[in-house]
């Protein structure tokens, strides 16, 4: 904050006020980050038109993509290219502005279009060309911690563990569908309990899908000797509700190398 004050009595209230605004802005940004799969810096080039030939361009603008903070894989092919943004309110942007866009993918055809969650103008009071990188980096780190907390809040147990063995679950199904998860059971040694009452050193059995069905093929798979941080819950998947804790999504697993970060986040 590049401000100068001549007297403490005058400065302190202003400083507190600025700190409060900064904190609110940070929180808002973290909320936007949590809702966005794409975050990028861009220059506003055209308004009320699109690269996707959209019939109603009243909320659309065309920006030139300059820097990617989230969604590298999806956006890198469009670096320095024109991308369409569906703005919440087109009056809040002007041609020539440089903005940070928080968005999700909307349309892909001859070009791509994203729908904004929010945007910030670089050059206003909060973000400057000098500080936007450090600001967004800090917000991304905080959002990462919030994400860990959110994942943990959905889990009954959070543990660091080692897979001792895996085996097919005994047949218990009552109905037949192509979406049978074909549960695999894994015995885990609990190396550290981060949330929940499971004692370190104890063992626990979890279930994960072994099916190659579209519904399950992206689920994490484990083999003997694997180590991971597991966010465990009991979920209802319909007819084959399993009695064990289940792991079905990548969100329920973190790399064991992130143990310190998880510990810090959940302190």
């Amino acid at each position: 904050m590049k401000k100068t004050c001549k007297g403490l009595a005058i400065c302190i209230p202003f400083m507190l006020l600025f700190m409060s605004f900064d904190s609110q802005a940070q929180e808002q940004r973290e909320s936007w980050i949590s809702k966005s799969s794409l975050i990028f810096k861009a220059e506003v080039v055209l308004l009320q038109t699109s690269t996707i030939n959209w019939s109603d361009p009243s909320t659309l603008g065309v920006v030139r993509l300059q820097e990617i903070f989230k969604g590298e894989q999806e956006l890198s092919a469009f670096m320095n290219e024109l991308v369409t943004v569906n703005f919440n309110d087109l009056k809040t942007v002007k041609k020539g502005q440089t903005i940070l866009v928080y968005a999700n993918m909307w349309i892909a055809n001859d070009g791509i279009a994203v729908t904004e969650i929010a945007h910030e103008v670089i050059g206003d009071n909060k973000l400057t060309p000098d500080n936007y990188r450090s600001e967004i980096k800090e917000s991304l780190q905080k959002a990462d911690i919030l994400d860990l907390k959110s994942r943990a809040s959905k889990a009954e147990l959070v543990v660091a563990g080692t897979i001792l063995s895996v085996r097919k679950a005994p047949a218990s199904k009552t109905f037949e569908t192509e979406h049978n998860p074909e549960w695999i059971l894994a015995d885990i040694k609990i190396d550290e309990s981060i949330k929940g009452g499971q004692a370190g050193g104890s063992t626990l059995t979890i279930a994960f899908p072994g099916s190659q069905d579209f519904m399950w093929y992206r689920s994490p798979r484990f083999k003997e000797g694997d180590k991971a941080i597991l966010f465990l819950s009991r979920e209802n998947f319909g007819y084959q509700d399993v009695k064990h804790f289940t792991i079905t999504t990548a969100e329920q697993v973190s790399d064991i190398r992130e143990l310190d970060k998880v510990r810090q986040a959940l302190k």
Partner: protein, 637 residues
């Protein structure tokens, strides 16, 4: 105002008579289009886009939506994509509007009402197991997520499959929607069910949906996954399902049951209009105790899950119904059977068609009673995607694709799908199937157009920058089989005139009726007006082109815009004070710097006065904006 037109022999015509007008002699032919639906912007895509479904809006055939097992391209998990087209399937985009928990959907099917613009979708919600959602959208081409009408899981629900029809009740349109599903919440293992609503368009969630249990008999613990419906405007709605009778998987024994309701599903006991003469129970057993291999079973690299059923009712005679199902008749085969009833499902013919080692049957009937039959047959390690048309004994057979099985290798199941889809609008057929995306013209006997970057010489799909190959994958392919009036390629030269090539003028004279003039846009750029290209860094490239035709007489002439293959392109037509303006933006693949691209103005002089010369002043404006915005911003000269 938008109008589309096809000229199936346009390339031939253009080749030999590139700027000679021609006359039409009205021969009717069939035009086939096959289009890889992956958008150019998703050229890096390598997902296995199997199990496709399609809905064409009967109120506006330009507007279509498709689905497949396609993930949100950003990796975002809260929405999954559908494919959308606003130019009759010529180009497709991905629109992320399906609610999801993992960026994809499980089973998905789609249907528009027969009037209006409401789209209905049945899905297994991504990331939520056997959780069925029924969704609607009044604009699937917009950005708003689809509205949730029904959300059911409990013991689990499988394969929601949507059908819809619009009725006029007391002067108002009502969308009646039917979602066949295998509901494990049903008592006594009688799981074949239909969620139905008599007015799904406007009612708030759950939009009047109620559950009809259509399985009255005892089962082997459940019915099989596929429950399909078809509805006629007179109120007859049919359902077909596999009743699992006995014997465990993979050699289940099933009856094929057809049930009917004669008042849109509102009978006191829904779907009770047909009683089987053998046991007196509702639902006709068309065949009994058939071996239906499933759980697990495979045909080639694609799994079999007892989902291969289809049913279609004649649109103007509800007594005529066609069905298709699959079973095993020998030791190792998987055989499709197609039969017909002409008495509202009471009795059934012998097989009209029997296809060995084939899957994914999909039936529809067009406005004149011609049946369209789509299926995929495994022959010599390759998937042949067939589309057949007929009524009883004579069936045409068209191979849409002949692609390798297991190349690429499956990344999950189903490899190509537990179903594919076809529907009729008017006399025309529109369908969708999934297949290997190897860009090889020999694999697509009817021709094919790829939106994504592809090299048909090296047979590799290419990345977005077109600088490197990307892995082969399964892609969804749209197809259209349409009846068209072909243009006589100027066989009668006396009926043709040479178009005038003067600056900023188009002069045409009709010598014989009907007459059609084809005016190549690149020649316009050479003679009639300047065609600037992409100049400057911060402009749209390609830009929008606005072609003005002053003194144009719309009572005498109609003008349309087509590409070099005679395919319709997406354009706008607006009236001006002095005539009309045609506005469009070339797609990147067809854009030619300073020439706009291989596009053609087509003038049809249905009401033109014979031998009278019509002269239109013409000029071109280039803009970053669509026409309305171009005018609003005062950019019009």
């Amino acid at each position: 105002m938008k109008k589309t037109i096809y000229y199936s022999v346009l390339p031939f015509f253009l080749l030999f008579f590139s700027f000679v007008a021609t006359a039409q002699i009205g021969l009717v032919t069939t035009k086939v289009r096959v289009i890889n639906m992956i958008p150019n912007a998703q050229s890096n895509e390598i997902g296995q886009d199997s199990e496709p479904n399609i809905a064409v809006n009967p109120s506006d055939v330009n507007r279509m939506v498709g689905s497949a097992f396609t993930s949100n391209p950003t990796g975002a998990t809260n929405r999954a994509p559908i494919f959308i087209s606003t130019d009759k399937g010529s180009t497709w985009a991905m629109n992320n509007i399906v609610p999801s928990g993992n960026g994809a959907t499980g089973d998905i099917s789609l249907q528009f009402g027969t009037q209006g613009n409401e789209l209905y979708t049945g899905i297994l919600r991504g990331g939520s197991g056997l959780r069925m959602n029924i969704l609607r959208s009044n604009n699937p081409f917009g950005a708003a997520v689809m509205e949730l009408l029904v959300d059911r899981q409990g013991a689990g629900v499988d394969q929601p499959y949507v059908d819809a029809i619009t009725s006029i009740v007391a002067g108002a349109q009502r969308d009646r929607v039917y979602v066949g599903n295998n509901d494990f919440n049903a008592a006594g293992g009688r799981t074949a069910s239909v969620e139905l609503s008599q007015n799904a368009r406007t009612n708030p969630a759950p939009a009047g949906f109620t559950t009809a249990r259509i399985e009255p008999r005892a089962t082997n613990g459940q019915d099989m996954p596929a429950i399909r419906t078809t509805v006629n405007s007179d109120g007859n709605v049919y359902a077909i399902f596999y009743r699992w009778v006995n014997t465990g998987t993979p050699n289940a024994r099933c009856d094929v049951i057809v049930a009917r309701d004669n008042n849109f599903g509102t009978m006191a006991t829904p779907f009770s209009a047909l009683n089987d003469p053998g046991d007196g129970v509702r639902g006709i057993r068309v065949v009994t105790n058939r071996l239906v291999p499933a759980f697990p079973s495979n045909l080639g690299a694609n799994r079999l899950v007892a989902s291969n059923l289809s049913i279609a009712v004649h649109p103007t005679n509800s007594a005529i119904v066609y069905i298709a199902w699959a079973d095993r008749v020998g030791a190792t085969d998987y055989t499709l059977h197609m039969r017909r009833s002409t008495d509202n499902g009471a009795t059934w013919s012998a097989d009209l068609l029997t296809i060995t080692n084939a899957t994914n049957p999909a039936l529809t009937i067009n406005s004149v009673g011609t049946v369209g039959y789509l299926y995929q047959q495994l022959t010599g390690g390759r998937w042949e995607t067939h589309f057949r048309r007929g009524t009883t004994t004579t069936w045409s057979d068209m191979i849409l694709a002949n692609t390798p099985d297991n190349n690429p290798a499956p990344t999950f199941q189903p490899y190509i799908g537990d179903y594919c889809d076809v529907m009729a609008v008017g006399k025309n057929f529109y369908g969708i199937f999934s297949a290997s995306n190897i860009p090889d013209s020999a694999n697509f006997p009817q021709g094919v157009k790829y939106q994504r970057n592809a090299n048909f010489t090296t047979h590799r799909v290419r990345n977005l920058a077109n600088t490197a190959n990307v892995g082969l994958s399964i892609d969804p392919f749209f197809f259209a089989v349409e009846q068209k009036t072909i243009v006589d390629p100027c066989l009668f030269l006396l009926r043709c005139t040479i178009p005038d090539l003067s600056l900023e003028m188009i002069r045409i004279k009709c010598l014989a009726k009907p007459c059609i003039f084809v005016d190549p846009v690149p020649k316009n750029c050479l003679v009639k007006f300047n065609c600037p290209g992409c100049e400057g860094p911060n402009i749209l490239c390609p830009p929008y082109y606005h072609m003005y035709l002053d003194d144009f007489d719309p009572r005498a002439w109609q003008v349309t815009l087509v590409d070099k293959l005679g395919e319709p392109i997406d354009y706008e037509m607006n009236k001006t004070k002095t005539g009309i303006v045609l506005s469009f933006r070339p797609d990147k693949k067809n854009y030619i710097e300073k020439q706009i691209g291989d596009y053609y103005l087509v003038f049809e002089g249905a009401n033109a006065t014979l031998k009278k010369e019509y002269a239109f002043k013409t000029r071109l404006e280039v803009s970053d904006y669509r026409y309305n915005e171009h005018v609003k911003m005062g950019l019009q000269r």
